[in-house]
Symmetry: C2
Subunit: 498 residues, 2 copies
């Protein structure tokens, strides 16, 4: 091999499934995280920030894809043999912290946390391998008052970030009621919990697909199975008609009020102790929420909520946005789920052997931002800095003094620091930055103690609406005394914002 | 193997070299990041957030340890063969972004970014493998006005986060001046830049250790070498006395003003074209900063600043905190460096083949927080939520209404959600949370339409200063009408804060 072979240049590419966030994408997310943290904090939750990296064994295998253990996680082996991994959610690290610091933390421990999580999944359109989650959990409280509180807080949070009442709904169900229904349907034997696990898996997944497949599709999956449009066949749970009827009845159990829905559920789980307990819990949650004024227009009991994760043991909840958006093909569809959670009483036990009750919620911040953008509630181009142009390279210190004064007055400002030779490029730069104002001072203006101020927003408006001749007269540019620079710029910015 | 062997429990441990941040550690850092972002934004910099993960080839090999390529980075191989890695700084991802989006970004592109970076290094006391950086860079400007601006912004930023003028100094040097000195000393041949590279490496590292080794130590390393206290011998650069004299003269070149230091440097690099260019750049920087009022009490030209990283090509700068703190052994020492940066004109070229001038600064946020904590400027225990205790489990809805009212009034509040049986535990919980107020309402109080308010801060004060008898009379607890709950709680909190 030739020794002087030139090294190949590295590719300037974001890794597959990752992306970069520029400007407003960053600040809008920050504003949302701040608004969410504000609500969580007011509810008494304390911040926690764990590192992005955990030992693989601490994370455990709680990803949806149970068939491929460790798949879905970015992991690597250390020189000393330990396996480390990037967290795939915020719940696994919380369980580790709750176990590790159990003697120091208050009980109950209420914490919130926000940050990226990583999934080693096949990337797709709009599906990224790093995304933000914003979680709040209460560890060490077995009371369903904690679950009710999380639901109320979720409702408050959605409104705080700009989703008006009526545009979202928080749906609440209970895994125990589901288990009761399974028992009544004959696919759960309390004396042998492992029996029928396969059938129950199919039933849970079928219920979870109600939105997409409709009642007939779910019914087919409860029975012999279902052939989809492409001709692929999905095996069913092979329930008898009577068994499937119990499950379908459960899915149709929703009534206008939480109390009525609970009454109907009570009939459906008759004879199942766990089912009855689940209904009582839902009743308590509904009563607590009603007493605080969270009616079914904000939070409702909905038996069709399942939540995919295997670790939930009691109440489960999900926030959905109910307005329609247009999908990639321009078809209207409901926006769907932006947050979910539930009670998981066994996660800390993995470490300590002792059951610790816990409940919490996770908000998918990036999806919520996408929703606000789809509704046009965020996403306007943010105002750029005032640009002080450079007419005379030797007077850089004068230009720096101008931006210094503007910044001291709280106005975002910068000197053009590219090559100043081509003045047109400086104005193009100011346009690209969405600057409200360009400041111009050549040696002639400097000698007379004045500056030129160019109102770029007004200029753009005139360019849009008026003829070329009018535009050329540039009424949006005017001269002011150097001493009035800050006041005049302030006046233009205030008008542009107002 | 027995099939029913119990699986080993995972250890609840933070991975070695990583740590968790609780409560105030999180909010104090957030406040600092917000304050820094505010200054960066005012200077016209736009936010950028790249993903934590980059391709290994995009990151390149710019870590200090050049002998072990890829060491220092957490990396793993994908199923498709690609190597991915966690970013080790914010500069390498910026260079990738600047190359990837060169046709869309404004020129110059000014961006700031903040977030964790990861180093796969041996952890030590106070040395973590994940820490925060907060960077600002200007890409596409070759003007030293950009370097001067970064230095001014760094000074403003330190003051904005709570380091008063006089407690820090920003030091500026220029790699070109260093190269000029090397040329004069005969260890740099402009016609054969690779020659003497080994010697120059030793000289640079020696200069970088001036603080620690003193003049005699550096002098030894420039010559035959140096034996340290433990008896270990470090090879020297084997410069002649005359050559070493040139370098030592350079280290002693600092004068009271930037102009005087530059004049002395000019003498030292006489005959070197690159050295003369470096001095001119320093003169321009000093003049620009002086014109804006940044005198040597904030920013000074200091020839001893080297900065370790190999990629700097022009001005380099470093912010040091000048006050003393006590080290682990109680000995006073200077706090040292909290930020650094410089001009690097070749990083984007790696990707595109075209040189792109760039300059920037990185603030070590965690070190800066440690400094403020050492000075007692942050770190007071934050106030916890008002805790509404549970006397009567059946009236949970009443207690929830109380916290609902408090929260609506902007007061942080929560219902005690642990097991309410032991009332003492509820008050212990409130203490642990650093709650200002506990609210108590038994059935008797409920019937009379009143609540008990316990002023926990006052209670703690009385407990500290008074006898047990006095404490038992509990003057810090009193009864108010239920309707006055919010107003009375507000009164106590305002007094505790005021």
């Amino acid at each position: 091999m030739a020794k002087d072979k030139k090294p190949r240049r590295p590719k300037a590419e974001t890794p597959k499934g990752f992306r970069d966030y520029f400007g407003a994408d960053v600040t809008e997310r920050k504003q949302m995280l701040d608004a969410i943290a504000d609500v969580y904090h007011r509810y008494g939750f304390d911040p926690l920030e764990t590192s992005a990296v955990e030992t693989l064994e601490a994370l455990g295998k709680y990803l949806p894809d149970v068939d491929r253990p460790n798949a879905g996680v970015f992991a690597w082996q250390e020189e000393d043999g330990d396996w480390l991994a990037l967290r795939y959610d915020m719940t696994a690290p919380l369980a580790r912290v709750a176990a590790q610091f159990r003697n120091d933390l208050p009980t109950p421990y209420r914490r919130y946390t926000m940050g990226p999580v990583w999934r080693n999944e096949k990337p797709g359109p709009g599906r990224f391998r790093q995304f933000y989650q914003c979680d709040a959990d209460t560890v060490g409280s077995g009371s369903v008052a904690s679950d009710a509180e999380i639901c109320a807080m979720l409702s408050d949070t959605l409104e705080a970030v700009g989703i008006p009442r009526g545009d979202y709904i928080v749906r609440v169900n209970n895994r125990k009621v589901l288990n009761g229904v399974m028992e009544v349907a004959g696919v759960l034997d309390p004396s042998d919990p492992d029996r029928f696990a396969h059938e129950r898996g199919i039933v849970l997944r079928a219920i979870d697909k109600l939105d997409r497949l409709g009642e007939a599709g779910v019914r087919a999956l409860l029975g012999a199975g279902r052939k989809d449009e492409s001709g692929d066949f999905t095996d069913g749970a092979n329930l008898s008609d009577a068994q499937a009827g119990v499950v379908m009845g459960f899915l149709a159990a929703k009534r206008d009020s939480g109390a009525e829905t609970c009454a109907r559920l009570e009939e459906l789980v008759e004879g199942s102790a766990i089912g009855a307990e689940g209904v009582r819990e839902l009743e308590t949650i509904a009563a607590l929420l009603a007493a605080q004024g969270y009616g079914p227009e904000r939070i409702e009991i909905d038996p069709s909520v399942v939540r995919g994760l295997g670790y939930y043991t009691g109440p489960v909840f999900e926030a959905e946005l109910t307005f329609e958006i247009l999908d990639e093909k321009g078809r209207p569809r409901q926006f769907g789920s932006v947050a979910g959670g539930g009670r998981y009483d066994d996660l800390v036990k993995r470490f300590t052997g002792q059951a610790v009750p816990a409940t919490g919620v996770s908000i998918g911040v990036d999806r919520l931002l996408a929703a606000l953008r789809a509704k046009g509630r965020i996403g306007a181009a943010p105002q750029g800095p005032v640009v002080v142009t450079v007419m005379d390279r030797d007077r850089m210190a004068d230009y720096q003094s101008m931006v210094g004064e503007l910044r001291s007055a709280g106005i975002r400002a910068e000197v053009y620091l590219g090559n100043p030779k081509n003045f047109g490029n400086q104005l193009k730069y100011a346009d690209k930055r969405n600057s409200p104002v360009a400041v111009i001072q050549g040696s002639d203006e400097a000698a007379r103690g004045v500056v030129q101020i160019k109102d770029l927003f007004l200029g753009a408006k005139i360019a849009q609406s008026a003829s070329h001749e009018e535009w050329k007269s540039q009424p949006a540019q005017f001269e002011v005394a150097r001493a009035d620079l800050v006041a005049e710029v302030r006046r233009i910015i205030d008008r542009a914002e107002g």
